[in-house]
Symmetry: C2
Subunit: 397 residues, 2 copies
């Protein structure tokens, strides 16, 4: 009999695509040298943290020897840190948020788990929109729920409102959206958000209980061409925004994120009490002390977006020149081109022969495409150009 | 219909005793001033972190501006950090541990949740020994299990092996012990550990699958009178030690802990793969970067134990002089005296009238006692002496 729980034992049988590419990449790098492998598989920001982060760290270090420097604080983070965060988010989202409308937590992943633990009953459903971040399924199943993804519109990857309307039923507890999107780079516009909200309002009324709208937004800061993603918070009382500083401050390992709730929510106090509880009982207890100091000290900064803008253009040129079909990402740092030949897994293996690491769309519930993360130097993208061209020709002939 | 999950809504109806005392304390402090309230309710270490922590932080801060300084690492922590930890634990536990035998996580609470998610099937049971840390119940229910506590031996609070033998059944997945113990200060001796291991071996054989032994040990570093707590790791293949640096390095807010597995475990690789997965999918993703640097730089240090030794004596004198019945704690920083009059909740309210904050034993599954945390200055303990004496007299008359 297994020493593990049945679900976890079964998860281990199916290693994620990102994991498999990571392992394949390790072998290639060992054989050909790090510089001769073009790794577009990981969304691990390579830009240094903004200088304000280092400055905040050095300032905090001055008082590290004081009692309680690393002590417990409220489960949702220091009051002063939440106050600063709320002020910053008020500007970003166009709503008046106070320290009582936000909680800090261990990354967006921690925030999503805390929220689902707080709201989901076993047997209930969380809906997503494919392609989607594969971890959403695990987060939902952690709390006894079922995750189901509804396909987005072909090619544009915008929400398919009609399909969503069909999918929402009496056991649907939440719709989980992600804009700017990983893996497609799509940013939902105001019309998309309005349509989703109208749908959720109608369904909440029909089923006699609210369907939550969870908006996972770690890439909000990273949009191109002057796009400003509309916020869900001023538009729907049962909306929450979950995010982190992993990408904007290049802090993914320090685990600082947050949940912000709509100020329209009548049951706000109840939800915040629940989140403070679930942060505690899931074992997070509180967001890391140091990370909160870094976040508060660097809230007005972010990594150099100009660098990502340049890389996006270089990658677009490389893909165009090689004849790939793709949509220009409006946000985040991913391309999601069509897989030549149509079989994404086969094509990713073809790319591997060119020492190019990508992730098949199958890993995001969207076969026929593949994901390229461009958080690598421009020179890496340029050097991969020949491999991209060759891989495409291999499949066409 | 509630916006929350049923379990979380019900948890919110029953605020923990620690929480209630915290709130009562806040009111007293506002009314009488901080210095006139004697707060023994919280296990929040008041000693500063050892100097090695500040030094490690300043050293890390020097390279905070480099790319990937705060980047992702393996879910179980940096290889170099696990190597250092394993070397340190090998000495403490008297077994040869390598980096592959330990994972770092977000505090002991994170480690316990990651372990339970990895091993527990819904409907299975986790056994504990009362009195116990109240969070164990939540941690178990998070993963669909049921927590059940078996009373310890009266007065000594040592494990009641006969009662445990009766309690372990075919759905028992794990026994969760805590030594040095919160709230009693009891340290299990080698005989206790041997008896538990013999029992679990017999039951594992009987039911055809292993019963895990989880040893929660954040107070291992803090024993008095030269006591050295025996380790479970060399004694039972299905034993894991879960701990943190919250108390030993006064780092509770930074969330650094670990799970160490027995090197005797044949399925070690499987368990470690599962823990790496559950750390990821529960949303921890990895232990905080900065905390790992602090831990690694200060592994050989701990807070000044001499200070806790002195406080223990002062508290013992105060309680003796006032005529309380108690057992001298062998470890940790708690006393767990009998409640005069027998009703712990009533007596804790009597103490409140003397502006003394304590936690009733009912909050630990052990009515008739109350817990006093002595992570406060000696002067606070001394100034509370009169109140302790008066409260006891009030009940006796």
């Amino acid at each position: 009999m297994s020493i593990l729980s049945k679900t976890v034992a079964s998860y281990l049988q199916n290693a994620s695509w990102i994991r498999r590419m990571f392992e394949a990449g390790g072998k290639l790098k060992a054989r050909f040298g790090e510089d001769n492998v073009y790794d577009f598989s990981l969304g691990n920001p390579d830009l240094p943290a903004p200088q304000a982060v280092g400055a905040a760290l050095r300032k905090f270090a001055e008082r590290a020897d004081k009692p309680f420097a690393f002590g417990y604080m409220p489960n949702g983070g220091f009051g002063w840190a939440r106050e600063k965060l709320a002020a910053c988010l008020s500007g970003e989202h166009g709503v008046a948020l106070t320290a009582d409308d936000v909680i800090l937590c261990c990354g967006a992943a921690g925030g999503l788990n805390a929220f689902l633990r707080a709201t989901l009953n076993p047997g209930e459903e969380v809906l997503g929109i494919a392609p989607y971040f594969v971890e959403y399924g695990f987060y939902t199943e952690n709390h006894g729920g079922t995750f189901r993804a509804v396909d987005s519109l072909k090619d544009t990857f915008k929400p398919n409102t009609l399909a969503l309307e069909d999918a929402i039923g009496p056991t649907t507890r939440a719709l989980l959206i992600n804009s700017p999107n990983n893996p497609t780079g799509v940013v939902y516009d105001e019309g998309n958000i309005r349509a989703i909200v109208a749908l959720l309002e109608a369904k909440s009324k029909k089923f006699g209980r609210p369907v939550w709208l969870i908006s996972d937004e770690p890439y909000r800061f990273l949009c191109y061409d002057g796009i400003n993603p509309p916020s869900v918070l001023p538009r729907y009382p049962y909306a929450v925004c979950v995010s982190s500083f992993s990408k904007s401050l290049s802090l993914p390992g320090e685990r600082v994120g947050y949940v912000a709730v709509s100020p329209l929510l009548a049951e706000k106090e109840e939800l915040m009490a629940a989140l403070n509880l679930t942060i505690r009982i899931l074992g997070f207890v509180n967001p890391p002390v140091v990370g909160q100091h870094l976040m508060a000290g660097a809230l007005d900064s972010h990594v150099d977006i100009g660098i990502y803008t340049e890389r996006r253009q270089v990658m677009a040129d490389v893909l165009s020149d090689a004849g790939y079909a793709f949509q220009m990402p409006a946000g985040a740092f991913y391309f999601f081109p069509q897989a030549p030949g149509g079989d994404d897994v086969a094509f990713v293996n073809t790319l591997l022969e060119e020492r190019i690491l990508a992730v098949p769309g199958s890993g995001f519930g969207c076969p026929g495409h593949f994901r390229l993360a461009f958080c690598v130097d421009k020179s890496v993208i340029r050097r991969a150009a020949e491999g991209f061209a060759k891989a495409r020709r291999t499949v066409e002939t």
